[in-house]
């Protein structure tokens, strides 16, 4: 027998005032982000890479190794205590950026975008909410991960000439900037995912832009490369969290401005595509 369930909700129509609000969309994207297993796994991997590689780099540090020039190591063994603590950021940024791509492009590859945009037909609040949710998450977790990697490394570096503490000049600034860098990588990943509308396309663009572009710049004539290279996204980003700078890199403030500029440009393109083209 079919139960004669009323199709109306328990509350009467007159009593309800459903409405799309900016806060509602933000809460929705927050819930959507954390209700996917892939978010937890990828964030976990990103944090693990950041902290574990930082600790391994600190534990393997020795002044002799550091002074060997011209030898390439997967994990840097020289430099200052901050550079050692942040040795994992190169790999952590890829996991973070990929999760950014998944968060936006995944909507298209699964068809979820149709549900999302029928709930929020003005569209742009969805993009801003995604940026806020994952941008802030990446900032907080990235900064925390950098601090943990640094504090853990302190134990191994104690007594060495390069040892620093949190209160040393510039250290906190660098660790916070590392979180800011990961946050902007997350934003770039989300923007690329929304532009490509394909997970594979978004990830390719992300890796190409962050890691291949600086390598390609080396193929330019030397005097051009010196002019262009510091402004490429990967290099400008690296300048954000560097404790020391040389003549070939931007200052931390300029690095932040350039890298944030790249993120803003891609985000503007993504917003334009979302608002103007058929879903």
């Amino acid at each position: 027998m079919t139960a004669t369930t009323s199709l109306r909700p328990a509350q009467t129509r007159a009593g309800t005032a459903y409405r799309v609000t900016g806060l509602g969309v933000l809460r929705s994207e927050w819930a959507k982000f954390w209700s996917l297993r892939s978010s937890w796994i990828t964030l976990g991997i990103s944090l693990l890479l950041l902290i574990a590689i930082g600790l391994v780099a600190a534990s393997r540090y020795s002044p002799q190794l550091a002074s060997e020039q011209g030898k390439h190591h997967l994990i840097p063994v020289g430099g200052n205590a901050v550079a050692i603590a942040l040795a994992g950021i190169t790999l952590a940024q890829l996991a973070t950026g990929v999760l950014g791509v998944l968060f936006t492009a995944g909507e298209y590859s699964t068809g979820m975008i149709r549900s999302t945009l029928t709930a929020v037909p003005t569209r742009l609040p969805v993009l801003w909410s995604k940026i806020a949710v994952f941008g802030v998450t990446a900032l907080v977790l990235g900064t925390a991960g950098a601090v943990v990697a640094f504090l853990g490394g302190e134990h191994f570096l104690a007594g060495q000439r390069i040892a620093l503490t949190l209160s040393s000049s510039g250290v906190l600034r660098c660790l916070a900037a590392a979180g800011g860098y990961l946050s902007l990588v997350a934003v770039i990943g989300m923007a690329l995912g929304a532009l490509a509308r394909s997970v594979a396309g978004g990830i390719t663009a992300l890796i190409g832009g962050l890691t291949l572009l600086p390598l390609l710049a080396n193929l330019l004539p030397a005097n051009w490369a010196d002019d262009v290279s510091p402004y490429l996204p990967g290099n400008a980003g690296d300048a954000m969290f560097a404790l020391t700078r040389d003549s070939s890199t931007l200052s931390p403030g300029a690095g932040l401005a350039v890298f944030a500029g790249w993120a803003a440009l891609l985000l503007a393109l993504a917003a334009w595509r979302l608002a103007r083209t058929d879903a």
Binding site: T2, T5, L7, R8, P9, A10, R13, T16, Y18, R19, V20, T21, G24, V25, R27, S28, A31, K32, S35, L36, R37, S38, G106, E107, T110, G111, M112, I113, R114, S115, T116, L117, T118, A119, V120, P121, T122, D278, A279
Partner: protein, 304 residues
Amino acid sequence: MIEVRELVKRYGAKTAVDGLDFTVRPGTVTGFLGPNGAGKSTTMRVIVGLDAPDSGSATVNGRRYREHRAPLREVGVLLEARSIHPGRTARSHLRGLALTHGIPARRVDEVIGLAGLSAVAHKRAGEFSLGMGQRLGIAAALLGDPETIMLDEPVNGLDPEGVRWVRTLLTGLAAEGRTVFVSSHLMSEMAQTATSLIIVGGGRLLADTTVAEFTRAAAGATVQVSSADPARLRDLLARPGVTVSGAPGSDELQVTGATARQVGQLAADHAIALYELRTRSESLEQAFMALTGDSVEYRARSTA
């Protein structure tokens, strides 16, 4: 109430919707019928603002969909293409949509119960069968307690029990005074659920009618007559609106546009002996095929 006016939608060189114009009224189930590729899904995508029309308009309750402050409250939609992230549980999926509108968790559980998904509410949608996926899509459509419900091929993949559930649900919603708009490519399915019918083919409107009217037209569509002088009878029958066909040398004629009564009277008036006179009924499916088949032929000729 859904109003579609002079709607045109092109994808590159292909015109998917070509000047569609119709109104879907509250209180009845309106079937949206047409062969695959007739432009049904495109029309529905335009109605909810996923695609922008090239010209013309589609409004829901007097406004364009995106202008509503609570769109889920105005229209609940199930699209043909899957619109669910397989990694989320049924409940998380609905909760994500509900939060945008401030719809309480209580309502989420209510529609889960309504769709018969309580047992699998915490299962990930990727593990769902086609039928369960359809039920989840319908649950999402009901979430905002909308005045208009629009479902694209809702019985796809449902078992007989599910099909009956959808039919009961749709007629129930219409009886509550809501606007119910359901697409299908099967006439037989529509005949059992819908009252009004909008038939499209090749992106154009072929008929804006009711199931009762369509059934009446299909029944008694053709009169078959055998007579002593088919050639003369043929001439006598010739008038606008009547078509007569018959194989040369055969006693038999097929007449459309005239009733058996009229044909019999005409033969008697002119003293033509009849050997057989009968009305042939078409099945609804045949009548539908004849209607949409013509549209395809017409299109082919017009583009040649």
